[in-house]
């Protein structure tokens, strides 16, 4: 286990070899119940509290498919530009492992519900890459195993294992790409961008939260190299259960460097599954898969075929939401920002909050400014994501409204946001409690202006002499005296007025 893996540099690997990838993504649907029985899918239940004769595989139990599960599969298929089968069946995938009490997983084999589609994905620099989708099919999740008696919960060396079947039977959609060719050195980036775009699509459809860190979306990365300029695919490795966007990219990159080292030293790649390690960014050998495993697939006799009517499919198609890439392209044009700006917004997770803030009445520029500035900084400092901050888009919109009305300036607005984030209440409550109002009332400002002029006679003389720009120093003094609450524009008018100067 401790043998070090030989690697060549990424650049050297790409100088000689062309990577080909295949990505398999499993998405756990957010249905209330399991795929073939009415057991709840809610997280956090005690072990084996959400099982029944169907998902425990008791003799004589009859599964019935979840209509919402089928509809979600069709929605995903349509969003991925797939054809939807007119007629398809479930199949039993037989295997001997205790994570499925039935000894088979109900899946689909040669009749997937959706097939032949594509997903356009955008790379960091805005370039678009089309990933062809081979199929999307319906299946079910497995139970959760706990291995006891070995080192750190590993199956190797365990004396026995414990099974919780709450997860067994939760609906899964498996989405399989065709071989991704032609990405070259950008292959790892394409892999990451694909999984990210797929996650955005799944979320936009509302069929799953697709939180990778919670296992609601998991990716297997198949990768092989072929010498540059050749057609025939090399032998692939399959890195299983890569569970973050960053890891998808790192796993692909690592495998490119590892394969290249093996091939360039005259070795051969073993067809096997590999495990990805988050801590080191490396993969290690799992199960050798020299031949395709024989799962003895056969049509599931306990379930009848699914034959979605064309009317139903068209109804579902008509109700699809705007797809994320189209939405981003539209917003980018509406807001008049660059692809790089949009990428920063995406990387910050700020797109949805900004749109929600605009929907709540803010103008686009202000909404962007607060979420990408003050709020991004605050989130970063507290190690939270933007949607975890204690401020709602509607509250941010209220702050921008107060700024637009002239009740707040930017400096005060920052203090209001700080107060809301600190749990002091709504923006209006923070304004009241902290006494944060722009003072534009002339009588209140007049005293401060007079004091500033009296305290800076030299500056005042310059202004009287026509150097209007010098007024900035007096405005600054007034702002300081009023702790930033003065209306700066009004202050400047009052100063010029008192000194008998007109601007311009």
């Amino acid at each position: 286990m401790t043998t070090t893996t030989e690697l060549v540099s990424y650049e050297d690997a790409l100088a000689s070899y062309d990577p080909v990838m295949g990505l398999e993504v499993h998405v756990e649907l957010g249905t209330r119940t399991k795929m073939f029985c009415g057991c709840s899918t809610e997280l956090g239940a005690e072990p084996n509290a959400q099982t029944c004769p169907v998902c425990l595989g008791m003799p004589g139990a009859l599964p019935v498919v979840n209509a919402t599960g089928v509809e979600s599969a069709i929605r995903i298929g349509l969003a991925l530009n797939c054809s939807i089968a007119e007629w398809c069946r479930f199949a039993r995938k037989n295997y001997f492992y205790p994570d499925m009490p039935k000894n088979f997983q109900t899946s689909q084999y040669d009749e997937p519900i959706a097939f032949d589609g594509y997903l356009d994905v955008q790379l960091e620099d805005g370039e678009t890459f089309r990933v062809q989708i081979e199929r999307a099919h319906m299946e079910e999740d497995t139970g959760k195993s706990t291995h006891v008696g070995g080192a750190t919960g590993r199956i190797h060396g365990a004396s026995h294992s414990l099974l919780d079947y709450n997860r067994a039977g939760i609906p899964l959609i498996e989405i399989v790409t065709r071989p991704i060719e032609g990405a070259g050195e950008r292959a790892p980036e394409v892999a990451r961008a694909y999984v990210r775009e797929l996650r955005e699509v799944i979320r936009a459809l509302g069929v799953s939260d697709a939180r990778m860190e919670m296992g609601q979306m998991r990716c297997d990365v198949n990768l092989s190299l072929r010498p540059n300029g050749t057609e025939k695919f090399g032998t692939r490795s399959e890195t299983k259960n890569v569970n973050s966007l960053r890891s998808v990219e790192r796993a692909a990159r690592f495998e490119i460097m590892r394969h290249a080292a093996v091939l360039s030293s005259g070795g051969t790649i073993v067809q096997e599954t590999r495990h990805f390690h988050e801590d080191t960014g490396s993969t290690t050998s799992g199960r050798v898969k020299e031949e395709a495993e024989d799962y003895r697939y056969f049509p599931e006799p306990d379930l009848v075929p699914v034959a979605p009517s064309r009317e139903w499919v068209e109804e579902i198609r008509a109700a699809l939401p705007e797809m994320p890439l189209a939405r981003r392209t539209r917003l980018l044009a509406d807001w008049g920002i660059s692809a790089t700006d949009m990428q920063s917004i995406l990387n910050a997770g700020a797109l949805d909050p900004i749109v929600a803030t605009i929907d709540a009445g803010a103008d686009a520029a202000s909404a962007r400014k607060w979420w990408m500035g003050e709020l991004a900084r605050s989130a970063n400092e507290s190690g939270k994501s933007l949607d975890e901050l204690a401020i709602t888009p509607a509250q941010v919109a209220r702050v921008t409204e107060l700024v637009t009305k002239g009740d707040l300036n930017d400096k005060l607005a920052r203090q209001v946001i700080e107060g809301v984030l600190a749990g002091e209440g709504t923006p209006d409550e923070v304004v009241d409690k902290r006494g944060l109002k722009v003072v534009s009332d002339d009588s209140a400002l007049g005293t401060a202006v007079d004091e500033a002029i009296a305290a800076n006679p030299g500056v005042a003389d310059k202004i009287r002499g026509g150097k209007v720009a010098a007024a900035g120093a007096l405005v600054g003094a007034v702002m300081k005296a009023t702790r930033g609450q003065a209306d700066a524009a009004r202050v400047k008018e009052l100063i010029l007025d008192r000194l008998g100067v007109t601007e311009g």
Binding site: T33, G38, C39, E46, Y97, A158, H160, L162, P301, P305
Partner: protein, 98 residues
């Protein structure tokens, strides 16, 4: 041609965790033999032009609404388990030492 032996029935019964008495083994071996013989006749008439049947009824789209139904209690779910631990099904070692 015998379809199934008494020993095979005993083996299947063990796999299915069914406790059968010796006279039941004889009884079921005979019955299963008849059933297997009957099923075998299907392959005599099923030719290349007959598509395999995966379901006896010409039904499609039998679905249920996504509504939660009561589950078994953990005690009920585990009541048939040969072994359990921490409210989970306990299974023998899956992989040996490397």
């Amino acid at each position: 041609m015998p379809g199934i032996t008494r020993e095979e029935v005993a083996h299947l019964a063990r796999l299915a965790r069914l406790e059968l008495k010796p006279e039941e083994l004889d009884h079921f071996a005979g019955q299963l033999d008849d059933i297997i013989g009957a099923v075998a006749r299907v392959s005599e008439v099923a030719d290349q032009d007959v598509p395999p049947t995966s379901h006896p009824l010409p039904l499609t789209n039998v679905m249920r609404a996504d509504e939660v139904r009561p589950s078994l209690t953990p005690e009920q779910a585990l009541s048939g388990a040969p072994a359990q631990e921490q409210q989970r099904f306990k299974v023998p070692q899956i992989l040996g030492e490397e």
